[in-house]
Amino acid sequence: MFNRIFSKQNRALLGELVRTDFKLRYQGSVLGYTWSLLRPLMLFLIMYVVFVRFLRLGGDVPHYPIYLLLGLVLWQFFSDMTSQGLKSVVDRSDLIRKVSIPRWIIVISTSISALINLSFNLVVVLIFMFVNGTAFLATALWLPVLIFETYVLSLGLALFLSAAYVKYRDITHIWEVVIQAAFYATPVLYPITLIKNANYQKLLLINPVAQVVQDGRYVLVTHDSKTIATTFNSPWARLVPIAIVAITLIIGCLYFKRQEKNFAENL
């Protein structure tokens, strides 16, 4: 089955979709692909100036700029994947209405675009780490696992949202609000220690994205970072967000599979 899903034709198609997407993004700009590195670099500089120099939010957190940056990068990945995934099927209605291609390829292609974006952003994080003189931790090898967890969560959501968006065009507006709310409910801009109530801390960290962000900071930036394991005082606490991720993927896949037959007619 795996062989059939990733057949030669499907791989070629996936490759072209991702390539097209990437080419179109910097279409007509003078600097072209440079933007994929330049854009996050500049955005992070702004964040750095605002949150580190002026607001001084993470006063006692070691390497706070990197800490902030990594959180933003991981959040951005989640946000890109779900928001772009949501629109992917509708945006590609030209293909869906006229060609019989596996529909999930379209969602996967946007997820790969988001992964490429993430890797550029991580390069920027490395640059900042180097400039900042942050020591490289051996635990950083866990980072891919955390990225994988975010990927699975976002893919599940993207599958669900993209299929629902075909029928209900309000989804895009709703999701915009949800993602904005979730952004503030996730300790990205502020250190989680800013929340004094231990119960609220626990509640926040059940959110898989928050768990990944905190774990990411722990493995890459500083072992002082509070993670879900230290908050709950049990390494097994991680299983809760992981279970949420797994359930999201299953629901997303099932819903997408049920809806995809009708895409061509509903679009």
């Binding site: 034709q9 198609l13 072209e16 097209t20 080419k23 006229k98 060609v99 019989s100 209900y168 007619e265």
Partner: protein, 383 residues
Amino acid sequence: MSNIVIRVDKVNKFFELPHERHSSIKSLFVNILKSKRTYEKQHVLKDISFEIEEGDFFAIVGRNGSGKSTLLKLLAGIYRTEAGSITVNGKLTPFIELGVGFNPELSGKDNIFMNGALLGFNRKEVHAMYDDIVEFAELERFMDQKLKNYSSGMQVRLAFSIAIRARSDILLLDEVLAVGDAAFQQKCFDYFETLKADKKTVVFVSHDMSAVTRFCNKAVYIKDGKLVRRGSPSEIAEMYKLENIEVPKVIKVKQNKGPQLSAVHAVTTKITHETPDKLHLTFSYTSEDDKDMYIGFSVLRDGISIAELTTSLDKPLVGSGAVSYIMDVTAFNEGVYQITTVLCRKDGRKLLSISRAPLTFKVRGHDLTRGAALKLADAWDYK
């Protein structure tokens, strides 16, 4: 016994068209509360069954909106079937139209790779055939330009050059001939010839009956979602032409309402069969004044008048009455003909009345000179 590659068995297709499309959550909630949604259930395909054998060049003919394209989309697997089944043995082309997935913002070159991927080719394979594609499309100079700067003809040429690379067993072609100039059509025809020579299975939807009769070996006629007839392409093509004749009727009736035509004059025409090759035309006329009138009629084929006749100038018609004429149709080739009749004054300029609807008659019979209206007698002198 040939292999059946496509079997369509009692296929039905409905489209549920909501009267008020609930593409917003609010209307969804409102409708849940009301617990009824008003749909217009459109039955677009009704119990369609047919079989296509390996090597068939199969035409699906029908007027606009008859369900041909829906059927093709079902065959391609883009739509799902509600009832009935479609069995396909072999690899189908995944798309049915030219230039699907073309992106105007990308260069011609990038679009070739994208389209190639839709056909199932990876980059290496497209690279190998790239030069041939560009050469065939005659677009060597333009490959690095964005597609939006191409003329529509250039886009079609490019799309076609890629599409013919498809290595599938069964090809679905929808209205490929609708676009493009004469040179492009010639290329299409050449391609069809090679498909025929290679014994490929082709499902062909077109409004071009000359192409249908030229290439196809089987055809079906679809009307209002029903398969009304299957037969030889020439039979089906003739049926299609007949169906299309209803259209000018409406136009003629409208013309009849012209202000210069007085209601006190009227002419009606009736055709009866005399002998197999003679038609009896009866023209009845009425007038409320006593001025001279003449009746004229013309025989049209494909909208072009091929014969005309007026009543004798020495014998003007007055009042009410009828005249008849026996028309010999031995010289008429197979086809559909129409008769329009006018009632006019002597100089022929002042029209009094036009027959309400043109009468249609059909000449059947085998002949070799299909295109022409008239048949000349076989009076050759072999020296």
